[in-house]
């Protein structure tokens, strides 16, 4: 047991060193760090309140200018303030939903893979069925028919339909780990199933889980933006990157700044997440762990 713990630590140190040596991941970490800082310190970065209608007569739908670098929207709200405060909502939803869905997916994957038998068959049948339906469709149906959902409910919902692919991946890793000598030895020594899973199987799936989580953050940002654009995600007047675009969606041609700037914020952040995910995957397995088809299917298109 001491050996596996030591190996786990050196593995983690190795992973960290490899990741940090990669210029892609350094750049991505800086970008993500800046995005998080901008969200945290939003009130310091802009004098305006994101929900305040500054002057509905004179400051409505203004193109970018010195006073309002990203322009104002049809309600005379400052777009820069909305993008900065929107980062809070968009990022919070993404991080929370991913934390929830990846933990749950890892739990299901490890339990199904380790216990096997009926539990495995039942769980994986459920996952297969769920993976067959495009996740977007499922959320659209649920969110919209429940009427307006709060940011909290939306997060839970996104998490609820996002854990399937992780659990499949983790189950596959668990099946490999289950038959390793140290796991068999732990079992032979009489360790209870939960302990073997926690101490010996779980460290093996941390890597793939981490890669998956990093890529998933980007996907959830995209998903939330899409839902908000369709008018069934984050509700007005709360700003999220998607809902700002929705505010300008009816008049894209004259209010282009409402589409372009929040969209750039999304693209830059998601690109950083994906680059970091790719770098992590390469660091974990130089021979490249292939993206699973199902994982791709779920979020895109």
């Amino acid at each position: 047991m001491a050996r596996s713990a030591a190996a786990g630590q050196s593995f983690r140190a190795l992973l960290l060193a490899r990741t940090l040596r990669d210029p892609r991941s350094r750049a991505a970490l800086i970008v993500l760090g800046l995005a998080v800082l901008a969200a945290l310190f939003a009130p310091l970065l802009t004098p305006y309140d994101p929900a305040a209608q500054l002057d509905i007569v004179r400051l409505r739908s203004l193109a970018p200018s010195f006073a309002h670098p990203l322009g104002t929207d049809p309600y005379s709200r400052d777009v820069l303030a909305r993008v900065l405060f929107g980062a809070r909502v968009s990022l919070a939803i993404a991080f929370a939903a991913v934390a929830l869905s990846v933990s749950f997916g890892v739990l299901v994957g490890v339990v199904a893979g380790y216990l096997g038998g009926v539990v495995d068959v039942l769980l994986m049948r459920l996952v297969d069925a769920a993976l067959a339906i495009p996740r977007l469709l499922l959320i659209i149906a649920v969110v919209a028919l429940w009427g307006s959902v709060s940011v909290f409910t939306l997060t839970l919902l996104i998490a609820g339909v996002s854990w399937f692919a992780v659990s499949r991946l983790v189950r596959a890793e668990t099946l490999v780990a289950r038959d390793r000598e140290y796991v068999v030895a732990a079992r032979a020594l009489g360790a209870p199933a939960w302990r073997v899973m926690l101490r010996h199987v779980l460290p093996n799936v941390v890597g793939p889980g981490l890669v998956n989580a990093t890529l998933a953050v980007g996907n959830v940002i995209l998903l939330e933006a899409g839902l908000s654009y369709l008018g069934i995600g984050v509700r007005p007047p709360t700003a999220s990157w998607g809902s700002i675009i929705q505010d300008g969606a009816e008049r894209v041609s004259d209010l282009w700044w409402l589409t372009v700037f929040p969209g750039l914020a999304i693209v830059i952040t998601v690109f950083a997440c994906n680059a970091l995910g790719d770098a992590l995957r390469d660091a974990l397995d130089p021979r490249q762990l292939p993206l699973t088809a199902s994982e791709d299917i779920v979020h895109r298109p």
């Binding site: 069925a129 067959a132 339906i133 495009p134 977007l136 469709l137 499922l138 659209i140 149906a141 649920v142 919209a144 028919l145 429940w146 009427g147 980007g218 995209l222 933006a225 899409g226 654009y229 369709l230 008018g231 069934i232 998607g242 675009i245 969606a249 894209v252 041609s253 282009w256 589409t259 372009v260 969209g263 999304i266 693209v267 998601v270 690109f271 997440c273 994906n274 680059a275 790719d278 490249q288 292939p290 993206l291 088809a293 199902s294 791709d296 299917i297 895109r300 298109p301």
Partner: protein, 306 residues
């Protein structure tokens, strides 16, 4: 299974189609109740479900409250438009995606691989609706080359010659198909590249090189064929995903397909249309998987249809 889930979820929602459709001050509760009875909405949920399944099996999908006509007719109009969009993108994006994946995998880690990889990752990070909006801004407003939306010109189409009508339809197809294709090709290229990298270290690759084939020829003639199988399987899963993802493209370009109809139906609490939309995608899922199995059997001599 999928249909049950949809039915339950949809009916868990607060409000019903009658309270939305008849949300006018002059309508009394008694009238609403009468409407509910005539559409069977007062029956227990279990009974409604059994009826719905029995009817769906016979191709009776119910009555769309918001379109005021049978759901089957709405689907008959909108589904082909979505399939046209998704099908064209599917074909195009697979050709482009596979080609790009092969170009990358020929020299993994080379300059071409890295640059293409960055472009693909960038495309992969772009929200579909945003790319569509930007394409709309760029090619319909700033450079007015193409129409902004719809499938035909609403005013001129009927007055055009036969050739003009076809050209009109094609012009309206360009932007929606291109945006959908670009995004889906990026995913496919990433997938194809990693599928190729998986087979490159195979024994038969070494054999091909040993008998004097150039690296490029070995990749193109041997590796690509072997790496194609997972991609074909992917294509089967991709069609329904594209059809569902087309929702955004349809909304941006006001393309009157099934995705747009489903999203609008949600706002109108038009249950029969929403369930039918989801059902249509589920049917596509099954069909896609079946077609992929057949295609794999045709391509791979190890798998035979019996």
């Amino acid at each position: 299974m999928v249909t049950t889930l949809t039915f339950v979820l949809v009916h868990l929602a607060p409000g019903d189609p009658i309270s939305v459709a008849l949300d006018r001050p002059g309508v009394t509760d008694a009238v609403r109740q009468q409407w509910r009875e005539s559409f069977g909405l007062d029956k227990p949920l279990g009974e409604q479900y059994v009826r719905w399944v029995a009817n769906a099996a016979r191709g009776e999908l119910g009555y769309s409250f918001s379109h005021r006509r049978p759901v089957r007719d709405v689907l008959a109009d909108t589904l082909p438009r979505t399939i046209l969009l998704a099908g064209l993108s599917l074909v195009l994006s697979f050709f482009i995606g596979i080609a790009v994946g092969v170009l990358q995998a020929e020299r993994p880690g080379g300059a071409r691989d890295r640059w293409l990889g960055r472009v693909l990752l960038l495309l992969y990070s772009v929200p579909d609706f945003w790319l569509a909006l930007i394409a709309l801004l760029a090619f319909a407003y700033w450079l007015p080359l193409l129409p902004a939306g719809g499938i035909v010109d609403p005013v001129m189409h009927d007055y055009l010659s036969a050739g003009g009508r076809i050209a009109d339809r094609l012009k309206h197809l360009v932007l929606p198909v291109l945006t959908l294709t670009l995004l889906s090709a990026a995913s496919i290229a990433r997938y194809q590249r990693s599928a190729l990298l998986d087979v490159l270290p195979s024994d038969w690759m070494r054999t091909a090189l040993a008998k004097g084939l150039s690296w490029r020829a070995a990749v193109r003639q041997h590796a690509v064929r072997n790496a194609l199988l997972p991609t074909i399987t992917l294509a089967g899963l991709w069609l329904p995903a594209l059809a569902a993802g087309a929702v955004f493209i349809e909304k941006v370009f006001s393309w009157p397909g099934m995705g747009l109809a489903t999203v609008n139906a949600i706002g109108a609490r038009d249950y029969p249309l929403v369930t039918a939309g989801v059902l249509a995608i589920s049917v596509l899922v099954v069909l896609g998987a079946l077609l992929a199995d057949i295609a794999v059997a045709l391509v791979d001599p190890r798998v035979r249809l019996s």
